[in-house]
Amino acid sequence: MKRGGYIMADKLFVKDHDVVVPGEELAEGLDYLPAGKAFRDGEKIFAATIGLVSVKGHVLKVIPLAGKYMPRRGDVVIAKVTGIGHSGWTLDINSPYMADLNIGEASSEYIDTNRHEMSEYFDIDDYVLCEVITISDAKFVKLTAKFRPYRRLSPGNIIEVSPTKIPRIIGKQGSMINTIKDYSKCEISVGQNGWIWISGEPEQQARVARVIKMIEKEAHKQGLTDRVKNMMEGK
């Protein structure tokens, strides 16, 4: 291959679904594009974290196996109210950074603080389904709960899973989570930050939690949908 006068050999050192460790060399040459937790240094591509390799065409991606939730704009998260201020709430989003929910973003209606207590909307320890709207350079995270389906979550089961396993729990176009919803008749909200809210019949709530924990544990394996179906049928 000739590029810019140099003779280049494009080499790929890993296969799809390989497990890689930080610093592992994944490819050489300019044919591949790093994505996810892969990065380029000169003509080589390395892994930045422990993870699974995904090779799609020329895109070389490392999907991390573990890690904290890092907020991104547009993420739907489940947040826990930790403080009430004059003009908004402080929330824990299971991340190194705290998040703010401004009073103007809390409801589609106007909130008159002279007539209503802030805690009538969101009280300490309440869980809120909301969306990340902005993250500043200093990592100040701002949330919104203005529109449906964003709201205060009613009592139910809250479970915590590794945020890196969330895509597997949701599945392709929501296939996995919809399978679980169909079988269990439970209402489920999955936050990108690793918190999952389940509401429904108590026995089903517990079963859904067990199934999700199983998916989290076996996320790297294939053929999970069938196992999920079996578990949901009670086999």
């Binding site: 320890d125 139910g156 108590p202």
Partner: protein, 265 residues
């Protein structure tokens, strides 16, 4: 999270179900490892589900208490390190860790599991002192039962270090073959109560929302050597009698498991 999941857990328990799929009166899976620590006189690692504790025993020679000149000394301690749970913070001992240490200590002391009169070297002057330390490694509820089980296993498998009487020094790393004079196997069983339902072996989630708890230490003779109630809720007389019978039953179960583990080691 407690307030959010309380109604769900209460409803689940009302139906005699648990989150992991076990029954109301079942323990989670218990795993026991004997003497995992090479540098202690005796040690044990106990796992109940994902709760994990490490217990170490140290034997030392010291002066007896003035009121019991013809008895050895037993001292229990528990250290809730931040490694075990984000709820634990570094610093001086908090009420929870003192409670764990004292309840485990009391269960062993009041059962007279160690024949303390055989621990005397010279009456009124020198006796063996038994120290055990409970270190939770992972906290997923019921540290009391895990710690108590670990403590009794560590004590049963502890061996005396060599003691140089002339120099008055204990050689901690050189162990003899002599074991502690054990007479009993006290077993602690902890019950939780949430919205009127009583259950064995509360997980951390259940422990965070339950109204009250009761820990009963039972002996082979079907007697109780100690009890401890925690939390603000209440028990009826029938509750307590029912729990006592269950504690005896669970004690037998755990004692069997413990003997199996000891015979393998």
């Amino acid at each position: 999270m407690a307030a959010q999941i309380k109604p769900y857990l209460a409803a689940l328990l009302q139906k005699k179900l648990r989150e992991e799929g076990r029954g109301l009166n079942d323990y989670r899976k218990i795993e026991v490892e004997i003497n995992p620590l090479a540098s202690s006189a005796g040690s044990a690692r106990v796992k109940i589900g994902s709760t994990e504790v490490l217990v170490g025993v140290k034997l030392d020679v010291g002066e007896p208490f003035p009121d019991t000149p013809n008895e050895g000394v037993l001292i229990g301690n528990a250290e809730l390190v931040p490694m075990a749970s984000p709820d634990f913070e570094p610093g001086p001992p908090k009420p929870e860790s003192i409670e764990i240490a004292r309840v485990i200590d009391r269960g062993i002391r009041e059962s007279h599991a160690i024949d303390m009169q055989k621990m005397v070297i010279k009456e009124g002057e020198k006796v063996w002192m038994v120290n055990f330390d409970v270190y939770p490694i992972n906290h997923d509820g019921n540290l009391l039962d895990a710690g108590a089980l670990g403590a009794i296993i560590a004590l049963m498998n502890a061996r005396f270090p060599k003691y140089d009487e002339k120099a008055g020094r204990v050689k901690y790393t050189e162990l003899t073959k002599e074991k502690l004079p054990m007479t009993e196997i006290p077993i602690m069983t902890t019950f939780g109560k949430l919205s009127g339902t009583i259950f064995v072996d509360p997980t951390k989630r259940e422990g965070d929302v339950m109204d009250t708890r009761l820990s009963i230490t039972t002996l082979e003779s079907e007697k109780a050597s100690s009890m401890q109630k925690g939390g603000f809720g209440t028990f009826t007389k029938d509750d307590v009698l029912q729990m006592f019978d269950l504690a005896v039953e669970k004690g037998k179960e755990l004692r069997k498991l413990l003997k199996q583990a000891t015979s393998k080691a």
